[in-house]
Symmetry: C2
Subunit: 163 residues, 2 copies
C-alpha cells in the first residue's frame, strides 16, 4: 500500500488547499475599550449558486485509528468548508491536488491544538478525521440546492501514518 506520512500543519504547506484558522500571524486590532482583540477575517467563506447561503453547524466526529486506510477523498465544487475544533485535540487533515478530476499527490497534516482549517472551494480533502477521542467542531459551509459533492475513490487505498 502506498504510504502517506503525516506532517505538521503549517501555513506555507497548507496554502494551496485552504487557510489555517488561528491567531498566529493573523491581522488583529483591539475593540471594546481594549478588552477584546479581534483577529479579523481569517478566511473567505465561498458559497456559489443562486440560492446558496453559508451554514453554521456542529460536527461530532468519532475518532479514527492510525495508521488509517484512506479509500477516498471528496470535494465541494460550490463552497468552502471550515472546521474549527471546539476542543484542544489535534485532528488529521488530508488534502490532494487535482488532475483531470482525479485526486493526486495526497498529503496528510496533523493540526496543532486549537488550529482550525478552511478548505477552499473545490479542494480534494479527506472527511473530517478526529483522533484519540470523539470531538466536536464548529463547521461553516454551504447550503443550497445544487450538487456540491464529488468523490474520488481509489482502486488501492493509501496508508496514512505518523512518520
Amino acid at each position: 500500500m502506498e504510504q502517506i506520512l503525516i506532517q505538521p500543519l503549517t501555513r506555507k504547506a497548507f496554502q494551496p488547499f485552504g487557510d489555517i484558522i488561528d491567531t498566529k500571524e493573523a491581522e488583529n486590532f483591539t475593540i471594546n475599550n481594549g478588552m477584546c482583540q479581534r483577529f479579523h477575517d481569517l478566511t473567505p467563506i465561498e458559497t456559489a449558486g443562486e440560492d446558496a447561503r453559508p451554514l453554521i453547524n456542529i460536527f461530532r466526529c468519532q475518532p479514527y485509528d492510525l495508521p488509517l486506510e484512506l479509500k477516498m477523498v471528496e470535494r465541494h465544487p460550490l463552497g468552502s468548508q471550515a472546521f474549527v475544533p471546539l476542543s484542544q485535540n489535534p485532528f488529521l487533515v488530508i488534502v490532494a491536488e487535482d488532475e483531470d478530476g482525479r485526486a493526486i499527490h495526497l498529503r496528510a497534516f496533523l493540526t496543532e491544538p486549537g488550529q482550525g482549517i478552511n478548505f477552499h472551494r473545490n479542494t480534494w480533502h479527506g472527511v473530517l478525521t478526529a483522533l484519540n477521542e470523539a470531538c466536536d467542531f464548529l463547521v461553516v459551509d454551504r447550503g443550497g440546492e445544487d450538487n456540491n459533492l464529488e468523490e474520488c475513490h481509489f482502486s488501492e487505498p493509501f496508508l496514512v501514518l505518523a512518520p
Copy 2:
C-alpha cells in the same frame, strides 16, 4: 443602581434575541459512514447590504468582573453576530428589547459550558463578556462598507450580578 440578575441561558428565554449554538435539540443526521453526526444549520447568518459578506474571526476577550457596571449596549442593523467559545468557560450574554431606538428591558444570561450564541440582526446586546479568564471565541459576523454599529448609552449604569 438598577440591578439585572443573571439567569441561565435557555432556548425559550433567548429566542426573541437570537439562537443558542449547541447540539441540544438540534436537527442532526449521520454522515461519513456513520463516523460523524452533523448538527445542521443551527442559526441563520444575516448579512445585509450590496457588498456585504460573512466573516470568520477569532475574538480574544479579557475577563470582566462581577458585579458588572453596564454603561452601554450595541446593535448591528445589517448583520447577525455569532459567538462560539473555543473553551468550556461560560460567558455572559446581555440583551435588550428595543423601544424607539433605545434599549429597554435588559436581560443577562450565563451560558452553559460549550454553548455559543448568535445575535439576530439589529438586536441590542452587550459586548462580548468573558468571565474568570481570557477566552477565545470563533465569531461569524458581517463585513461590508455600510455602518453596521449603533450604540445605546445609559445615563445611569445598570449593575449586572449573580442572583
